[in-house]
Symmetry: C5
Subunit: 356 residues, 5 copies
Amino acid sequence: MRNKLVKKRSSKAGLPPGTLVHIGERHREAARVSIIVYDENNITDQASDNLAACATMRGQPGVRWINVEGIHSIELLQKLGECYGLHPLVLEDILNTDQRPKREDYGDYLFIVLRMLSLKSGGEGVASEQMSLILGPDFVISFQEGLAGDPFDPIRERLHTSRGKIRSLGADYLVYSLMDAIVDNYFAILESVAERIERLEEELVDNPSRETVGRLHTLKREIIFLRKSIWPLREVISGLERRESSLVREETVIYLRDVYDHTVQIIDTVETFRDILSGLLDIYLSTISNRTNEVMKVLTIIATLFMPLTFIAGLYGMNFRYMPELNWHWGYPAVLFLMLVIAGGMLKFFRGKNWI
Amino acid sequence: MRNKLVKKRSSKAGLPPGTLVHIGERHREAARVSIIVYDENNITDQASDNLAACATMRGQPGVRWINVEGIHSIELLQKLGECYGLHPLVLEDILNTDQRPKREDYGDYLFIVLRMLSLKSGGEGVASEQMSLILGPDFVISFQEGLAGDPFDPIRERLHTSRGKIRSLGADYLVYSLMDAIVDNYFAILESVAERIERLEEELVDNPSRETVGRLHTLKREIIFLRKSIWPLREVISGLERRESSLVREETVIYLRDVYDHTVQIIDTVETFRDILSGLLDIYLSTISNRTNEVMKVLTIIATLFMPLTFIAGLYGMNFRYMPELNWHWGYPAVLFLMLVIAGGMLKFFRGKNWI
Amino acid sequence: MRNKLVKKRSSKAGLPPGTLVHIGERHREAARVSIIVYDENNITDQASDNLAACATMRGQPGVRWINVEGIHSIELLQKLGECYGLHPLVLEDILNTDQRPKREDYGDYLFIVLRMLSLKSGGEGVASEQMSLILGPDFVISFQEGLAGDPFDPIRERLHTSRGKIRSLGADYLVYSLMDAIVDNYFAILESVAERIERLEEELVDNPSRETVGRLHTLKREIIFLRKSIWPLREVISGLERRESSLVREETVIYLRDVYDHTVQIIDTVETFRDILSGLLDIYLSTISNRTNEVMKVLTIIATLFMPLTFIAGLYGMNFRYMPELNWHWGYPAVLFLMLVIAGGMLKFFRGKNWI
Amino acid sequence: MRNKLVKKRSSKAGLPPGTLVHIGERHREAARVSIIVYDENNITDQASDNLAACATMRGQPGVRWINVEGIHSIELLQKLGECYGLHPLVLEDILNTDQRPKREDYGDYLFIVLRMLSLKSGGEGVASEQMSLILGPDFVISFQEGLAGDPFDPIRERLHTSRGKIRSLGADYLVYSLMDAIVDNYFAILESVAERIERLEEELVDNPSRETVGRLHTLKREIIFLRKSIWPLREVISGLERRESSLVREETVIYLRDVYDHTVQIIDTVETFRDILSGLLDIYLSTISNRTNEVMKVLTIIATLFMPLTFIAGLYGMNFRYMPELNWHWGYPAVLFLMLVIAGGMLKFFRGKNWI
Amino acid sequence: MRNKLVKKRSSKAGLPPGTLVHIGERHREAARVSIIVYDENNITDQASDNLAACATMRGQPGVRWINVEGIHSIELLQKLGECYGLHPLVLEDILNTDQRPKREDYGDYLFIVLRMLSLKSGGEGVASEQMSLILGPDFVISFQEGLAGDPFDPIRERLHTSRGKIRSLGADYLVYSLMDAIVDNYFAILESVAERIERLEEELVDNPSRETVGRLHTLKREIIFLRKSIWPLREVISGLERRESSLVREETVIYLRDVYDHTVQIIDTVETFRDILSGLLDIYLSTISNRTNEVMKVLTIIATLFMPLTFIAGLYGMNFRYMPELNWHWGYPAVLFLMLVIAGGMLKFFRGKNWI
């Protein structure tokens, strides 16, 4: 099924800014919260109800990563918002799940919105999910809409097993890792789309059918959709890389540049897809024109061959009393010969026109 | 009915700048003025004839919001202009209802023009209305053309009931609220357009008719129209957000950034619509070509099948005296058999060409 | 008649810069010069032969406006050039009537080129005329090519009758007024073009004919032409508004901003026209395809219906001696019945394909 | 004949930078060198073998202009290079005759590359030649490929006859004059192209044939080619005008601005050509569609008219023994009448569809 | 065979940054390393196992150039990385062979990625290979994927034979030489593509077939591919030329400007190709339409000529007992004459329509 062009948002019209209303589909029953606190030496998974003890937690050493799956619990959001001093507009944006990627600096923390893409279960079609990230001096909060499949599992594992950079560098490196995981995921999407484009290319050359156009249009729409999701990411990351906020440390910049590079490469590829797809429709059209032309030729050849012959046959089928030819002894063979000559002439004419 | 491409403006040619002539349709009989004065503690609705007592009012504390519906009363406009020291060019622009969105800084006050969109009564088609806003240090004047439906009702309500930010923050926050209400309204328009595009997409795949192209063109025109109305808004708001005028306070910036975000998102969506629509026409064209091709095939198959057969039948319908075949006992069955063989060969040829 | 794509200019190749050769058509016999000198209190129309007394005039108080209609008098131009110290390149540009709008700062004076548009007498088609303006500290010289119709009449009248801003503000305000008059004139052109586009739109939907494409192309060409004439104006005026030259006074800026606004609005509209026109051709093409498809269907239905029937009739028109069916008593009705069955089947097939 | 898309350059791959290899066609047998030395009072044509005495010449007063026609003499180039201290890369670029216009500052001298265009002898088609200019403090060296026709003749004449600016202003003014001559030449090219476009427009409306498309494509290619040759010139001249090099004197700037203006105007015109040409193909396509539609109508009318009639005739040509109608006395006239009724009905149907 | 749209990269998703996994095809069995150390006076080819003695080598005078062909040996890469202090992200990028051209400054060294293009063995189609360059103060490391053919052979030779600039200028000049060799190679690619375009142009005019569209699409794809490979190069080189890194010496800038020029010229040419190709499809479409039109005309002429005649013949083939014409003595000649008149009329009608 195709993605909706816009999400129903008009229900919010007229409400004051910062009113928390969830816009989008509810993907899972209950929201799931996981909290990981780590520094170079220690790492602990904390119970999610620890959220209550927010105030006492804030002064503790180490980096705290709170991952929320399923954002429709407004209560939970408000609790988090109070605890970490998030602006109501931030909470509102987290709930409006049709944001375009953006980066907003609220001084104490950065608010980053990304779009997480995944292949739909049927294999074709791309689903999109909003991923909101809050980067504070010593904490990261990530909000997923809660579609199946979590791209953050490898990061969780790396946090637990290795003691590498991800443990020693701070919260900004964690945010980088999360963004990198999301962007890495885009490559899988691109591969799947590329495969479908290539299949379509072959189909167009070998055996275009009516469904081909439909499929082409669906692909085009998906690519428009991909573009819209990925294009603004470029500016988001380049802003981080330029260290416009002091929350991003010098050491992380080099890694952000790497994600930036990947993003540019992905955008490049999406543009290439666009170019190729727009060419495909032209090819489809010219293939159809070509076929019509071919069909027409067959028709014309047959008609041009048999119409004169049928006319001659009709001529000698007339019942006039005085038709001298009819009584000639060689009349019939002569007419047959005439017909052969005419047919031969026609065929020669067609060959001259390169039609056969 | 479609929107006119341009409004009749030529009647003004040659008049000196600042001449007040109303350009556009007159939407209601009498202009309606409502005045609300409020501060953190008090709020009063004032009688509209209080306008006369302009001079005495100007020094009073609190924020004054004057909302004018129906702008064709030039007299009223002049009174307001004198009282608040508005430049004649501002009044002229308020009356010329085909302005594009803009923001002009007159030092003492900001002059902002927006376009308010609403769905036409029939459900299809978008009507556009000019909304002019004047932001002074302690007053806001808003001018609507006066189409049915007032998007400011929720704001009025919030002013009366709550004592939140809208009451404590100043005139600039009120202007933000008005702009936010207008932009929020755009989402409803987009939803309606998206629905129509999706219906058109289905129609094109299932059963395109001649009216489809007409509808497609109408949609395209509306989107061109939407684009023209919304695109310049981006710069208008970004200028406010950058606090180019001191009339915008620090606290309001964060809210303006929010509206800015919405505007960018809306522009993005309109661009997506454009891309999709332009693809639709191509699909329509190729569907038609496809159909013609199919029709041609049926014709060709029939003609190719029956023309040779008819010719043979005609051949033996000739009246030559000496046609030995006619007297053969098995002549008739032999000819029938020959015809069957020819028809079979033709069908095989068509199957080879994948036509049947 | 269409406008020429380029004006014959090659005749000038090889001449040194500043050589005065008139390029363009000569619109009137003799050049007409009018001189108005005014300040806040007095205004006088001076005889045009006063040009001779140039030197004595230059020190006089007030603003002098010299309007020249018909620029082919090279002698006149040279006299003016000497008197006001105009650079030979300026005079050359005034004579080359295919300049694009531009603004050049010569220190003592500004040289501004605009294009004045007017509807051709037949009602359709846009004629273009070069308008050159010289703005000095206390004088304005305007050069028209001298087509019929003078957009400056209202300004002359305002100068004579009112004592408003146009009399008290200086030469720069007069230049603004002239430019405003020209830009205001564009709106009338746009209205006429819009009307023609709307008529074309209706024609395309109702009853497109072969001439429609020709008309479409003519309109497209005119819009390309309009664009080329208007687009650079934007930068010309924005440079004046930014006061890049000290000849523009602070008080005039606000008025220039107004013309600038109008220009942007006009450009916007021209772009809209372009978008709509380019859509129209697609609609025309798909309408034609649709029609061909319809014609084809009629042909196919008829052929498919009658070819098999004609074949059967031909079959029983054969003259074989032994054709048992011919002698059956119910042979004829049976064949008629068979034909009916075949025709019915065909019609059902067409209905299944939605062709009838 | 069409221009080649690229010049054979690969033969140079792998050679070190500064290797002198001539790329392009050799247009004349021997290179021709002319040297003119002039100041305000004197002017002399020097013998070309004076090149040898390079060292002694350099200190002399006045401006020296060395014009080289035919650049394939590598020896000559090397001599000049040594004498005037030209960088090997400059010499290399002079020999590679497919450079795009550019301006390079080597401190002591400026290196400017332009493309000189001329109409091919057949009248249709544009030939392009590389023109390299070296501007030193007191010398100018110009390199032409040596196609027939020299646009510098008028300049040479002006140098000899007049004592105007060209003699008093320095080497930079001479370079300006050369560039102006080349740009002036472009106008002639544009005029010729415009004429061909206009002829094509008429042909398309009146009587498009198969060759029309070919001609359209050739024109399109030429315009792509023109664009590529002229577009970069804009930046070249604007850099000179901004006096990025001290070799350009204050007095020359005003003249450079004039050439700049011409260049912008030419680019504008080329863009207009592009727009118009791209519209022409659409018109051609729709004309063809229209024609096919018309042909189809004729065919359909004829077939629809005669197929039913032929069928009826065939029906009564059957040889069944018992066909009561055949024996009726009024059978024949009745059938003729029936046929007339059918034909009339068909014609009415066509008229209803607006086909006849 | 066509190039894949994207390389399989998703296998890397989830791995930490800096993990070394080779992405791409393995072009040769074992990696080949060559080391050249040179200064103005000496040059030595070192054994490749010298890599082990890395530490001792670093202080030596002269420039060291390490060329690695075949990058799949991760061990080798790691050794080089340790020895020259390369960042893990650099090594990762070297292994990911679908990078777009880029330039990254790591302080001590510059990391440059280019794409090396070569014609596929079949003659048609362009293969692309990633070329990574590391520029340190006194060393250059180049990594090739290891496709057949080495564009660096001429450079190696020049190093050994000449004692020119390449020996005296430092490591940055060597990097310039390598980049120049790669860019020079592009010209050969362009020539081959240009040739194929020109062949296609001729084919389209003379004898377009169904395969033509396929070939056109393949060419289009290749040009999209070329563009993607070359376009970013422009910025890479312009950054070097602006000496953003101190590793680039003043003396080399002039040479970098030369490569920059070549790159711009190549991009220009690729854009020209794009423009021409997009025009070609339109021509193909209109040629097909034209042909269909012609075929239709033949069919229509034949049908219109013979259908009425066949009808008349059928009419007099009817078996009515009372058909007076049949018994007229001149009936048969009269009918023949009537037929001639009708055929003549039809032919005249066609000639009037310009169909024959």
